[in-house]
């Protein structure tokens, strides 16, 4: 074995070699620098996105459940006509009354309607029919005025909530409570203003004017077989699974499905979305890994090329080193350490550039990447990969150097 001093001096020598051939070293390590930098940046951005999304899910979304109509798979379409699978208002009421695991639920039905205020008429405004529990399931509160009451719902009163973008777009006074809107030829009293949330990644962002009316009122605007979905909130994220099972049971009973019948609807808990998101993130990470693999391969070939040049240029030096007592193993290790050092320096530069990128994207407003940062495992992996590339692609030139005959090498011009 070589002494520890040997390794230390070899690394220092390699650093000097790299420093004295700065331009060449940079060009050589470029493949590794680019590969490591781009992957580091992608992983940083992805990490930021993941942190953001998961924290949002966890803060208010994890107890949320969705019910959609769903045609069973592998069955002819006409076995289950739309009428059989679509959700109906009475089913929402049944779930509301029978599910003890739910804190609340709301049916949701949307339409695009013409809305008219005293000052302005807007076409194609999103009008949504809801129950009062909507504020809890969507986590969007009433900031001015009041939410719908049960009376509003039960009596299908012509009242509405609007968001503050609607206040602006319909040129309503800043306190619009008590004003009226004409929606689809009916006159509605504005009772409250709902907060607008644009920076949220889950649920539905309100990026334009929105109007909300009691769900029972909405039914009057819709066709007979209109589409609706149900959003429910379990008492806690831990009870989400239980709630999902209970809702399925109740809905099956309401629909009169026997034990052998397939579900004609789908209850989905938020953690399934989280799983989906996580698998997408894993996919992107894998793709990034593939990119780094390719660029490290390219970088490795560059390293091998330059190390071969270096061996050829320094043939006399190798001869001299052998003459003063360097064993083939010592020469092999020296050139291998040089290749590894070059790769690690490339990896270091790559990580620094990637960090800079991560810092850059994290300060882009509205990109949802403010948590972007390079995780420690990615840095460790970058260095491990760089070192492996150095060993793999430095091996052949190093073997070549170690096998040089000292006499021939000293005679080399």
């Amino acid at each position: 074995m070589m002494s520890p001093m040997f390794y230390l001096e070899s690394v220092l020598l390699a650093l000097r070699q790299i420093w004295s051939n700065k331009l060449r070293s940079i060009l050589t390590a470029l493949g590794i620098i680019v590969g490591v930098a781009s992957t580091t940046a992608v992983i940083a951005a992805l990490t930021g996105l993941k942190t953001k999304v998961l924290s949002e899910f966890e803060t208010f979304g994890a107890a949320r459940l969705y019910v959609f109509p769903s045609r069973p798979e592998g069955v002819p379409r006409n076995t289950f006509p739309w009428e059989k699978i679509r959700l109906k208002p009475n089913e929402a009421i049944a779930l509301q009354e029978q599910c003890t695991t739910l804190k609340g639920l709301t049916p949701i039905s949307e339409a695009s309607l013409s809305v008219q205020s005293d000052a302005e008429t807007l076409d194609g405004v999103s009008v949504t029919g809801i129950w009062p529990a909507w504020h809890a399931t969507e986590n969007r509160q009433v900031i001015v005025g009041r939410p719908f009451s049960q009376v509003d719902i039960n009596n299908a009163r012509q009242v509405c909530l609007i968001n503050d973008l609607a206040v602006r777009d319909l040129k309503l006074p800043s306190d619009p409570i008590g004003e009226h809107l004409i929606i689809g030829l009916r006159r509605f009293l504005i009772v409250g203003v709902v907060e607008t949330i644009t920076e949220r990644m889950t649920g539905f962002n309100s990026i334009s004017a929105e109007v909300f009316i009691p769900f029972s009122m909405m039914e009057k605007f819709q066709e007979r077989d209109f589409f609706m979905r149900i959003v429910a909130l379990a008492h806690s994220p831990q009870e989400a699974e239980e709630a999902s099972a209970e809702m399925t049971r109740v809905l099956r009973k309401v629909r009169g499905l026997g034990s052998g019948d397939l579900d004609t609807f789908r209850v989905q808990a938020i953690d399934q979305f989280i799983d989906q998101f996580k698998s997408i993130a894993t996919g992107i990470t894998a793709v990034a890994g593939g990119i780094v693999g390719i660029s490290l391969l390219v970088g490795g070939i560059g390293i091998m090329n330059i190390m071969l040049v270096s061996v050829s240029e320094r043939t006399r030096e190798i001869g001299l080193r052998k003459a003063v007592g360097a064993t083939p193993t010592a020469i092999l290790l020296q050139f291998l350490l040089e290749a590894v050092t070059l790769c690690l320096v490339g990896g270091l530069v790559g990580v620094l550039i990637g960090q800079t990128f991560a810092f850059g994207v994290s300060s882009i407003p509205g990109a949802n990447l403010e948590n972007a940062s390079v995780p420690a495992w990615a840095v460790a992996l970058a260095f491990i990969f760089s070192a492996v590339v150095g060993v793999v692609f430095g091996m052949f030139p190093a073997i070549k150097a170690s096998r040089l005959d000292p006499i021939e090498a000293l005679r080399h011009e």
Binding site: M2, S3, M5, L320, R321, A323, G325, A326, L410
Partner: protein, 250 residues
């Protein structure tokens, strides 16, 4: 009588270059005693370089035996030969062979990087050894210079310092003055003589009579065979030169 420091018997060396077979050495016997200074002479193609490579453990003989300091070294593998070179032999080459990126001191230190047997210790200790060696060749004031900042004579002094650093059994010089002018040649030869006088065994491969005249003994080769092995004064071409040189010095 003590055992010779170098003892070779029946050394032959055969190269194959393509179809051709070259008999570089055809059975050479040679003894060198500790403290001798021997010149190895011969025209090009005489086998003197091959003999030096063999004696310097850079190469193995095809046949024959080589005892270096009482140890048979003709059958060692590449790694073992490297260790023998590291511990027993100091080389001085015609074109100095200094590494341009390193300072004089670092060049001198180089063999210690590869030493394991003798335990030369760590950084500071090694540095001191290299400084001592540079002091012996009179270059204490040039330690931090790079080869490009040194004259030819100074470069060869650095190379000599590197060769004697590890206190080798044999100092082996291959045309050590071949790239130097005559004044510098004299300086370097005087340095070799001085090191020899301190007890160092020295082998010098040369084709120059002036250089050989500084030695005690002249071995001549021709066509891979020993032509003559005489004391310097007895050598027909160099004897007069050597005697004249010594009387001039006196």
């Amino acid at each position: 009588m003590p055992e010779p420091i170098i003892q070779i018997r029946g050394v032959t060396k055969i190269y194959r270059v393509g179809e051709e077979t070259i008999h570089a050495l055809r059975g050479v016997d040679l003894n060198v005693n500790a403290g001798e200074m021997v010149a190895i002479m011969g025209a090009s193609g005489s086998g003197k370089s091959t003999l030096m490579n063999t004696l310097g453990c850079l190469d193995r003989p095809t046949a024959g035996s080589y005892h270096l300091g009482g140890r048979e070294v003709s059958n060692l593998d590449a790694a073992e030969l490297a260790q023998v070179r590291n511990e027993e032999i100091g080389f001085v080459f015609q074109s100095f062979e200094l590494l341009s990126r390193l300072t004089a001191l670092e060049n001198v230190e180089l063999p210690l990087l590869y030493s394991r047997g003798k335990g030369w210790g760590w950084g500071r200790q090694r540095r001191q050894l290299a400084k001592d060696a540079l002091a012996r060749v009179g270059l204490s004031d040039r330690m931090d210079h790079r080869p490009s900042q040194l004259s030819g004579g100074q470069k060869q002094r650095v190379a000599i310092a590197r060769a004697i650093l590890a206190k080798p059994r044999i100092l082996m010089a291959d045309e050590p003055t071949g790239n130097l002018d005559s004044a510098t040649t004299e300086e370097i030869l005087a340095l070799f003589a001085q090191i020899h006088n301190q007890g160092q065994t020295v082998l010098v491969v040369t084709h120059e009579n002036d250089v050989a005249a500084h030695c005690q003994r002249v071995v001549r080769l021709r066509d891979g065979l020993m032509l003559s092995d005489l004391s310097v004064d007895a050598d027909p071409t160099i004897g007069a030169l050597s005697i004249a040189r010594r009387s001039a010095a006196a």
